[in-house]
C-alpha cells in the first residue's frame, strides 16, 4: 500500500510558502515542501527572530506554538549544525519547519524572546551540540552529568564516551 497524496494540501502549502518568501526575501534562502506535505523555510541565521516573530504575529500565519527545537550535526559541511524549529498554528491547523545553520563557534540568537518554550530546548541543544545561544536567560547544561566534558550528540563523539563509568 502507498500513502495517498493530498494534492490540495500540497498546493496550499506551496502557495503559503511562496507568500512567506515574498514577504521576507531578506532572510529566506529556500522554501521546500516535502512529498509528505511538510513545509520548510531555510533561513539565514540573522533572520531567526524576525522570521519567528512574523510567523507568530502575522494574521495569515498565527504559528503560536513552538512544538520542537532541535539541531542536526552534519560534520562535512562548513556550517556543521542545522538548527530546526517546528511551529504549529492552532488557528489554521498547520505546521511549518524553520531551519538555520551555524558552526561550532558562531552564536545564534535565542528564540526565548519570541517563544518561551524555547528555553529548555535551547539548553538541550547547547548541552548536546555546543551551539551557543546569545541573549538566553539561563544557558547551562540540562541532561549531562555535572562535570561532564564534551557535547554528546556530535558525530565525532564516540558512542561509549571518553570516560569509563
Amino acid at each position: 500500500t502507498v500513502r495517498p497524496k493530498n494534492e490540495v494540501e500540497q498546493k496550499q502549502l506551496c502557495a503559503f510558502g511562496e507568500y512567506v518568501a515574498e514577504i521576507l526575501p531578506k532572510y529566506i534562502q529556500q522554501v521546500q515542501v516535502s512529498c509528505f506535505n511538510e513545509l520548510e523555510l531555510l533561513i539565514h541565521p540573522d533572520g531567526i527572530i524576525p522570521v519567528l516573530t512574523f510567523l507568530r504575529d502575522h494574521t495569515n500565519a498565527q504559528f503560536k506554538s513552538l512544538a520542537d527545537l532541535t539541531a542536526v550535526d552534519v560534520p562535512s559541511r562548513q556550517y556543521r549544525f542545522e538548527i530546526v524549529y517546528n511551529l504549529l498554528s492552532l488557528r489554521f491547523n498547520s505546521r511549518i519547519r524553520v531551519k538555520t545553520y551555524t558552526d561550532e563557534l558562531t552564536p545564534v540568537d535565542s528564540a526565548v524572546s519570541v517563544h518561551k518554550a524555547a528555553n529548555w530546548y535551547e539548553r538541550e541543544v547547547w548541552d548536546m551540540y555546543g551551539v551557543f545561544f546569545a541573549n538566553h536567560p539561563d544557558l547551562r547544561r540540562i541532561l549531562t552529568d555535572y562535570g561532564f566534558e564534551g557535547h554528546p550528540f556530535r558525530k565525532d563523539f564516540p558512542l561509549s564516551g571518553y570516560v569509563e563509568v
Binding site: E22, K26, Q29, P50, Q78
Partner: protein
C-alpha cells in the same frame, strides 16, 4: 457583548465596545504601515487584510454576526490578533525584511542527501 458573561477562554476577559477597539487598532496599523516602502509585499498584503477586516467591522454592528463573518474565533481573539499585528508592523520597520537576501548559503549547505 455584555449579555455574555465570559468568553469561555482562560485569561481573556469579555471586551466591552469591541468595534471601537478594533477601529482604533486598525487605524494605528494602517498608520504604521505608511512608513514602509510602497512596493514591499508585507505592506501590500497586510493592508489588504486590515482593510478587509476594517470594512467588515464598520458594516456589521452585531457582535455575533461579526464573529461569524470574520471567521477567526471570538472577537476578543481578533482584538489580540490585531494587537500582535500592530507590534509586528512596528518591528518590521526596524528589520526591513523586504530588502534582498543578506547572504547566500554555501553551495552544499541545504543539499540533502549529503
Amino acid at each position: 457583548m455584555l449579555s455574555v458573561q465570559t468568553t469561555g477562554l482562560v485569561g481573556l476577559a469579555v471586551a466591552e465596545n469591541p468595534h471601537e477597539r478594533l477601529r482604533i487598532l486598525y487605524t494605528k496599523i494602517l498608520g504604521v504601515l505608511q512608513n514602509i516602502p510602497k512596493d514591499a509585499a508585507y505592506r501590500k498584503y497586510t493592508e489588504q487584510i486590515v482593510n478587509q477586516r476594517f470594512n467588515l467591522v464598520q458594516t456589521e454592528t452585531d457582535v455575533q454576526k461579526l464573529q461569524d463573518k470574520l471567521n477567526s474565533g471570538h472577537i476578543e481573539e481578533v482584538i489580540v490578533q490585531a494587537e500582535n499585528e500592530l507590534s509586528l508592523a512596528r518591528k518590521m520597520i526596524q528589520w526591513k525584511p523586504w530588502e534582498p537576501l543578506v547572504e547566500e548559503p554555501p553551495s552544499d549547505q541545504w543539499r540533502w542527501p549529503i
